[in-house]
Symmetry: C2
Subunit: 415 residues, 2 copies
Amino acid sequence: MARKGLIVQKFGGSSVANVDRIRNVARRIASYYKKGYSLVVVVSALGDTTDELVELAHTINPSPSPREMDMLMATGEQASSSLLTMALHRLKIPAVALTGPQSGIYTDKDHTRAKIVKIIPKRIKEEIKKGNVVIVAGFQGLSPEGDIATLGRGGSDLTAVALAKALNADLCEIFTDVEGIYTADPRIVKDARKLDVITYDEMLEMASLGAQVMQARSIEVGKKFCVPIVVRSSLSNKPGTLITEEVEGMEGAVVRGVSLDRSEAKITVCGVPDRPGIAAKIFKELSKAGISVDVIVQNVSSEGKTDISFTVDKADLKRSIDILAKVVKQIKAKDVITDENICRVSIVGVGMRNYPGVAATMFDVLAKNKINIDMISTSEISISCIIKDKDGKKAVNALHKAFGLSKGRKAKKAR
Amino acid sequence: MARKGLIVQKFGGSSVANVDRIRNVARRIASYYKKGYSLVVVVSALGDTTDELVELAHTINPSPSPREMDMLMATGEQASSSLLTMALHRLKIPAVALTGPQSGIYTDKDHTRAKIVKIIPKRIKEEIKKGNVVIVAGFQGLSPEGDIATLGRGGSDLTAVALAKALNADLCEIFTDVEGIYTADPRIVKDARKLDVITYDEMLEMASLGAQVMQARSIEVGKKFCVPIVVRSSLSNKPGTLITEEVEGMEGAVVRGVSLDRSEAKITVCGVPDRPGIAAKIFKELSKAGISVDVIVQNVSSEGKTDISFTVDKADLKRSIDILAKVVKQIKAKDVITDENICRVSIVGVGMRNYPGVAATMFDVLAKNKINIDMISTSEISISCIIKDKDGKKAVNALHKAFGLSKGRKAKKAR
């Protein structure tokens, strides 16, 4: 049978969490196959497998070697890809399972967070030509040393988007446990609305700001190579959200979504001597330890001293404090203060770059709701405010309403 | 540090069944390393992992494809090898985990029971040169198609022995949950004695006759290439049993051991027309289905008809009956009778080929114990009798005593 077109699909761990769900995914793939599509399906590890393997490893060695961690974790996707293939065979669909290395995915040697260097999908193309649905173990590839390397959390998204590019696929579908990208987290905002279309840039802001539907790097790759991506539910047949390039007048709204990120903690280094190179010293030491620093604010200097505040991932807080304890002595600063009870509320939209009043509206809305803004960070298409954690939910709802994002409402222009 | 010599060690699933045991194995490897040996360690999957994976696969597809089964099952050893390596790192021992394919183990394409075709241990040698203990995922290799193939049950033994040959190792140690090879199963014969030395041929008879300590194919490979093998316990420091070539006057005994195999069932095809080619027809059909037939006895012909009896593995009994139902019609035989309540008791010893009276002694001992012999099979160094299952334990004890195999006793010559 001549095939209609090539679709790359990705199913996350929750979509294959148990035998019934694996069968369900197999039936969905079978229906696409019967419609005449060629299919390459990227699959994550079953349910919580990866977490369980990580826990087991840490029981044996609190600091396991990244190379062996990758070898261990890659078994999760190797197992799920073979099981899904067996489920397809049961439905009489010709299919073959391939590991990341077999799929021709080559990475650098940065184990546990490797980058894809190139893809040579020779074997995949051969299997497609044979009429097989190709089931690819996500999240993994082959390092220059010939070892298994994994792509970090959410790496299966990257596998799917990168394969879609390498195979020149017509579409990349990311199946997940939500029905698409929403104007806000529906668990927080009752009348959040699913978006039909979103730009790569907006999605990137949403992903990196805590929407957590898709891995940020995979969206970057999608943007770079203009891979059309659809995010949709593996449990329903609803159409999902298309992630694509910016389209003139797209849905007309200035602000497309509001996100809430509760994963960060705030650190303030007090009484820092206000001399060139001192701030650099602080951030260099953190960077050396692989700690990413976000929103940075430096106060106006007073008597040659200043305070520097920034946010880090909560998981990195303890290590950051340890590192800063030394730095503070070296640079003769006064103290380090931390605050875990913060959150970041952000508004995102490609439209806002043409409407300078958006930031003012945001600050106004927060002020009217008596929410104090601690720090502010802006990009061309987003504005983030660090506020008290307890105010997060109220802030998101107020902003969602103020920017007219609710279901059925018309988009409201910023003042 | 210059290394003393190279030892290949193999640890079975029960030796790495949980975190404590993995740590225990790591400590043992560390002690060898500190004594100055180069080490290549083959490891099986954790405890019952393989059984669990097989069960999961069969839930999804009652007849899973062998290729995908291999991909699934190989994850067990990949995981255990990486975990054991992490445990060694914790003890500050330099170590690296390799999959079967990474270890340069190439197989044929007979998935789930592949044979090793060649070993190119380039990577292993490089890692040894770097000073690493090399932990190899047992039971697996790379097929000509570039797929993961497994070597069948007990395949990790084969990995170890074949690597010992390929690396020209000084010794191959098989660590298991027994302390060595015994004159009989200690659970059945109270005063069974551990042997210090046994020949490959004797061990082969013991392995294929149900001693189950080591995979038969791995012993064949050991014999072919004269690999010195020691079977010993992973839970004690006792010396174990050396498997080696025949040595003149080795321990002086005629019979070295008594084994009991309860895994077979007896099939009798009754009223078979006694014409050339008829027996061949029966066994050809079974062979086509991959069913191995053992002990074969054909009765004296009576009125142009005869009965043919043989044994098959109990797991193959149902399939055998189905196949024979058709064959019986084709060859116009009368009936098929089966008996699962049988066992095979065997005596083994390279010495017996010089003592023709051994068989007579065996039959005599069984007769004196009122045990009826159903079928008899002999090789140059073993004699097996098929008897009633309920008589098995009594037969083994009587033979063990009669041939003077008990602890502290002198070997007794056969009459």
